[in-house]
């Protein structure tokens, strides 16, 4: 055992946050996940859960296995051991596109946008899963399919307004600066109207002002749409401001889990961040 890490035991019942938001039941439950790449154990027997409506941060030094964890949740990596429980049921190994279809959207640490498309097209593509009309109706552009397209466009425009990227809606993504690309990627993820949103370092490489904007967007998404959010972030200030609960990883292990306040004052966590030698 590590030491007296305040371990918020998977309280399957909800709680109310300090700022008065109601957090619901566990939506995603990771149980004893182990992930290896050849000899490298990127994740070692990690368990934690994410509750409906909360903002859950995953933090840890470089190479701790944070992105790997997100990739396990979104189906890009398949863990060798452990189970992923989603909405109270064990989830069979799913392909990334199937996970997306279950209402889990994500962004990438290294940004994966459709570089050849405009901002608008990128965001529209995020909505593909919401389009129901058959291939023929689509091709022939008949009544209901057309109505659906109009509805989709409205939804996309709302998101574009929400993230304040109206001015660049027709701009090819490849021409955008880094900070705006991150925002477009968030817009595309939101277009799917996800229940669970996974953000891998949404503020990396941004200046202070951009970070503030992004923080505000994340809080607003959570607040206005009730979206559950798991995010990886290095900036401790941001993590403390945004998150309800924090998982701390180091060398593939979980070394802390709890509210920002508890985690911040935990000696093991402090040691990991100060680079105290591991035994």
């Amino acid at each position: 055992m590590m030491n007296a890490v305040a371990d918020t035991q998977a309280s399957s019942v909800g709680y109310t946050t300090a700022d008065g938001r109601d957090i619901g039941e566990v939506i995603l439950d990771l149980r004893n996940i182990t992930l290896r790449f050849g000899g490298v154990e990127a994740i070692k027997d990690i368990s934690f859960d994410i509750q409906e409506g909360e903002i859950r941060a995953i933090i840890g030094p470089n190479g701790a296995g944070k992105s790997s964890m997100l990739n396990v949740i979104s189906g890009f990596y398949v863990p060798q051991e452990g189970e992923v429980w989603f909405r109270g049921k064990p989830r069979p190994p799913l392909k990334p596109y199937q996970v997306a279809q279950q209402g889990i959207a994500r962004t990438f640490q290294n940004i994966a946008l459709f570089e050849g498309m405009s901002v608008l097209d990128n965001v529209m593509t995020g909505r593909l899963g919401k389009m129901r009309r058959g291939i023929l109706a689509q091709a022939l552009w008949v009544g209901p399919a057309r109505k659906e397209e109009v509805h989709n466009r409205e939804a996309v425009e709302r998101i574009i307004d929400f993230l304040e990227i109206q001015a660049i809606r027709k701009t090819p993504v490849s021409r955008l600066p880094y900070g705006l690309k991150k925002r477009v990627e968030l817009a595309r993820a939101l277009a799917a109207e996800p229940n669970l949103l996974l953000l891998d370092e949404p503020m990396a490489g941004m200046n202070v002002e951009e970070k503030e904007d992004m923080s505000r967007f994340i809080l607003d998404v959570n607040d206005e749409f009730g979206t559950t959010i798991a995010l990886i972030e290095h900036d401790m200030g941001v993590v403390m401001d945004l998150s309800d609960r924090v998982v701390v990883m180091d060398y593939g292990r979980k070394i802390g889990d709890g509210t920002p306040d508890v985690v911040r004052n935990d000696q093991v966590v402090i040691d990991a961040y100060l680079g105290v030698s591991h035994d």
């Binding site: 979104s74 890009f76 392909k95 990334p96 596109y97 199937q98 997306a100 279809q101 959207a105 994500r106 990438f108 994966a112 946008l113 459709f114 570089e115 050849g116 498309m117 097209d121 529209m124 593509t125 995020g126 593909l128 899963g129 389009m131 009309r133 291939i135 689509q138 091709a139 552009w141 595309r188 993820a189 799917a192």
Partner: protein
Amino acid sequence: MPASLLYGVEVLINGLMAGVLYALVALGFVLIYKASGIFNYAQGVMALFAAMTLSGIMEGDIPFSHLINAMFGTQLHSFGWNVPAIAAILLTVVVMALLAWLVQRLVFRHLVGQEPIILFMATIGLAYFLEGIGDLMWGSEIRTLDLALPQGASLAIENATAVLGGDDFYGFFIDKLDVVATMVAAILVAALIAFSQYTKYGRAMRAVADDHQAALSVGISLNFIWVLVWTLAGIVALVAGIMWGAKSGVQFSLSLIALKALPVLMLGGFTSIPGAIVGGLIIGMGEQLFEYTIGGPFLGGATENWFAYMLALVVLIFRPQGLFGERIIERV
């Protein structure tokens, strides 16, 4: 206008028609290449296979009859009915879709993430396999394809254009089949573009062509899209097969049009649909015009055999990505 110039124009028009066919075959390549990075060597054989299947279905032949007869000592050959062209074309589309699904399921699904050269080798294997299966299914004799398409010189065009020149000009000599082929190809291309721009699956196709990881993250199944593009390439192959087959019979040489598509791709770029079309037309017209003005009079003729490759080579030297291909920028 002097007659020689008018005949030059006629040569150009006929070249345009040949170019349409090249463009069609190149289009099949581009569809698959864009979505999966696979250079499908079997595209030409797919055209042959599609044309054989269409002809076999129309004539009511029993597939694999040689094999069945050899195994069971039966004397089966034909169902004894004829299938109307439209129904047979639809059935052939179904067969091509099935083939696409099988190719994805049995071959490329297992090769995801492999080097392009390995994928390319797999398509060479596929080409020979498909050729063999085609023979096994429908027999190896030369088949005819009688879709009752208009054929032969168009008198209407000849008469209408005769007035352009003097007494020594008799009007443009243009094959009706070429006119039909051009119109069908134009409709096909328009339909493909509309599909890719305005439908859910078209959008998904473009997404996959752009970035696999991003496509997965928005819920697109790569497998499904790959089956879809192979099916579309199969349909394009069918149309090319019909046009070529109606002109010269359904025989092995049909699969060699794929070789003509290569310079078209070099010219148009491997990832550009407009490039494939314009490239096809340029090569079709270029080779006829070159033969008419230089090749025939000065070089002893038959320059069509190599002109396309020379032209492509020259373009490659100055624009390695082709005339329309996306700029290749190495990422660091």
